[in-house]
Symmetry: none
């Protein structure tokens, strides 16, 4: 394993992206995903500067167990004319309990004088004082040299002096930031090599200080600039998952890691973790609710998709003729194969996992697999996505296997009324009509939203026959409008996560009407819950 | 002006993108846009291989008047064992009447032997024969050396021999293609420099043959690889608008041109044309129906958008402190995003952008800014996110400025009923009661979902007083459930995008009830539309 730092800043710099707004719970979930991915450092936010980030570190200290990663708190050098020991924002960094503190500091004279409005010397003193103080308090300190490349162009000596001030005060990493994102690869390479030479930090080994790189994608070169910087001596790379970030985004960390590891043989994360990167990239998209970019390198849905034609016949001869590497290395798939071969195999595997053993040599079993496959393809075309709704896939499979899915109840109809109130919040009221055990049941439930009301009414209607549903709880509800931009009729996809206190499962509904999609997902969720509890049909 | 070729292949390689399907009319429209952009060459398609492309060239010959660009036809070398003079596909290239023919040829021994299933020598002969024949017919010939970089790695001598065969037969351009997209900048630079040296074509001047570069984005480096190739001697760059293309796409040609021209001083297209690139990039998105990628360098909607409060105060001092160049050079704009990270400076800047000039030294204006800031922070804590809802922020700001927001109408109440039908899809019906111009209006609308029904009912209720709303169209609707994982009451955030045919705006609603949130966002969207159209209160 290389000791190059893989430093993720999705939760801090990534969150600067337009339209991205993460709750504390979202940030904790993403941190777990990043840890699973195997990054070395997770920059959690700026405690003290914003209450949400302060809460994140407080909750992380108790609720978050990291297997691989170290949590880093981001903050600024103390204010001009003050002292690090009494600066409330520096205090908040200590209070965060993060063992690594990443300090942003000015290294560009123009920014020192015009944005910070202080002197060159005081800025250096702010760096020295803050780094020394934090080191004295036992923290590892990384420095983000803001606007470094622009600063270097304006006044190389001062830019280097800022780095030296940090290094001499005990900073372990000097991350050179292309804050405005305007750099090109040739320039980045030259500057990093010169800095490494000037500071005597060429390569991480044999010295206490390492150079880092932090790039933005304003010239479309964030990944390349990061690669070139590593070639030139940087041993710490910053980036974000899915390239989230302000303006055009930050360097996509997964792309950089995959390039370094799969193309240049630098071992950064364990291969089985890299194989999770497609899944994790998509899981994080679900949390941020930023639609996954299908053309994203390595992890995008289209990254290994081939349109039929010139390529198809060559791929049949040898897939490697038309792909730059094996997509399995990043947990992605060549799209041409998944439709038949991989499809059948995964359905057989899934059936086995569910205890429904299918014999591929048996004609009836083989026909069943074919039927399920056709159904999955048809439904996915209509907006279903079974990889996010395991429980619904199991129900689909069981419906095809004689006797594998009991008929717990039958739906006759449902209706929801939502009313604005003259004062206060809108109220929803749902009525459902179902039949269970030959008996027709009609119940009405209320809720603070239409889905909540439908959920209540369904529970009331089932409570007598199936008191077991009392333990089921709807814990997450997600909605996505598909194809709204295409001018065609939008289709709504609803994913519901349900818990029985022991485990959770996800079900899906897809329909033009959001409430119909929600109802379908609800019925699936309850059906799966009854199945799991092995409740007899009543 | 540099004589470097700007060669666009949006209509051929770009059209290989998943989900992209262009009609002949679409292709003609895009060709006009490309010509307006000022590219040197437009690769129109593969006549003969596909009837649509044959028709494109036929119609282009009569209907398309190009001011700047030259049309190129794409095709392959003649088939093995045949003759270029009698090959029907080579004939189709001549019939296209394009003055430039770009021939794809194999330069990778593995592909020659395994995909083409012919001999090394025959492949060279196919190149010689086809290039000579087309030259003899008076066409300029460009060569796309497919899989060049992979081929060079496997057998450098043969890869070079393929290039030489083309050059000696009269090919003007030898475009080195990273067909599988797996290359990294350092490698590309080395190979291009070696090829330029081996063939004696370093730099375009003084020689008849030039090297070209054709990159894909599978390592996230398509733009950087193109830049590095130009640095190493390539004088012909291929790419596509918006980076369209198979898998992860081709090199984004606008990004490459902007980088070369604005960062390296290589004059490729007239500055006033570059200033059209944002408009043209979006106009082409409208034709392809692929939603514009907001994080796209230079032309993306977010490319010059700033969210962090830290940046905003510096931007007030000097915008150049936080942008890598003036967005006007590519026809884009700096935008300030309002979020809970915003400070006073962001709000003052935003107000200025909206033409509401606030004087920071004036006590009343200063108090207003403070009030707006407090409101934004409070609302963002409750789930609002104004950086994704510019129009709602403008309404919020105007509500605080005396007389800046007319009272178009007043809402009394609304109600929606959604019913499952015994057969077929669920149906929604909404009733709204509003007052406008002292008159109470009550209307009922239907829809395939509750929000659709509310939208219809609101339009019906407003139609008499404000016939202008007929032009407003709801074009996107997004829902996010916030903090559902907390077990507390979930809050729903709805974002609505509305268009008046000229521009689009986003509004937001947040409430426990999804329909209440949707209603709030709808009312904001219509209010903003009436404001924009400068409709008087009726």
């Amino acid at each position: 394993m290389s000791d190059l730092h893989v430093y993720d800043t999705t939760l801090r710099d990534g969150a600067q992206q337009e339209g991205l707004n993460l709750s504390v719970a979202d940030k904790l979930t993403i941190a777990s995903h990043l840890d699973d991915l195997g990054v070395g450092f997770i920059e959690g936010g700026w405690p003290g500067a914003n209450p949400k980030d302060t809460e994140f570190f407080a909750r992380a200290a108790t609720d978050l167990t990291l297997k691989n990663a170290t949590l880093a708190a981001f903050g600024a050098t103390r204010r001009a004319g003050g002292s690090a020991a009494t600066d409330p924002l520096v205090r908040a960094l200590l209070d965060s309990q993060a063992s690594v503190v990443t300090l942003v500091a000015k290294s560009h004279v123009g920014h020192v004088e015009r944005a910070l409005r202080t002197t060159r010397e005081e800025n250096l003193e702010m760096i020295r004082d803050t780094v020394s103080f934090l080191r004295g308090e036992g923290r590892r300190v990384f420095l983000d040299a803001e606007h470094f490349f622009d600063g270097y162009a304006v006044d190389r000596a001062y830019a280097l002096e800022a780095l030296r001030a940090a290094a001499e005060s005990g900073a372990e990493v000097l991350a050179l930031c292309d804050t405005n994102g305007g750099m090109l690869p040739s320039r980045i390479g030259d500057v990093v090599a010169d800095v490494a030479d000037a500071l005597g930090v060429a390569g991480a080994t044999g010295t206490d200080t390492r150079l880092g790189i932090h790039c933005h994608n304003d010239t479309g070169c964030a990944v390349a600039n990061s690669m070139v910087a590593v070639d030139a001596g940087a041993t710490h790379v910053q980036g974000t998952v899915n390239g989230y970030g302000e303006r055009t985004g930050n360097a996509n960390l997964v792309t950089v890691v995959a390039n370094l590891q799969l193309k240049q043989g630098v071992q950064l994360i364990e291969p089985h973790r890299l194989q999770e990167s497609t899944r994790i990239s998509h899981a994080i998209s679900e949390v941020t609710n930023v639609p996954a970019y299908s053309r994203q390198p390595y992890t995008g849905a289209s990254a290994f998709a081939h349109k039929a034609g010139l390529h198809a016949s060559a791929i049949k001869v040898d897939p490697d003729l038309y792909q730059h590497l094996d997509p399995k290395q990043v947990g992605n798939d060549m799209r041409m194969l998944i439709s038949d071969m991989a499809g059948r195999a995964s359905i057989e595997l899934k059936a086995r996992e569910l205890g429904l053993d299918l014999d591929p040599t048996d004609a009836a079993d083989s026909a069943l697999v074919q039927r399920v496959l056709a159904k999955v393809k048809d439904l996915e075309l209509r907006g279903y996505t079974f990889d996010a709704a395991d429980a619904s896939f199991e129900l689909l499979l069981r419906r095809e296997v004689e006797g594998a899915l009991p008929d717990f109840f039958e739906v006759e109809s449902w209706r929801v009324i939502t009313d604005s109130q003259s004062h206060g919040d809108a109220l929803s009221e749902a009525t459902v009509k179902i039949t269970t055990g030959g008996k027709r049941v009609l119940r009405t439930g209320e809720g603070n939203g239409p889905v909540n009301a439908l959920d209540h009414a369904l529970r009331l209607a089932l409570a007598t026959a199936y008191p077991e549903i009392e333990h089921l709880e709807l814990i997450d509800y997600r909605v996505r409008i598909l194809d709204a931009a295409h001018g065609t009729d939008a289709v709504t996809r609803v994913l519901i996560e349900t818990s029985d206190g022991e485990t959770t499962w996800e079900t899906i509904g897809v329909a033009a009407n959001i409430l119909e999609a929600s109802w379908d997902a609800l019925v699936e969720s309850v059906t799966y819950g009854l199945l799991r509890a092995a409740v007899p049909v009543r």
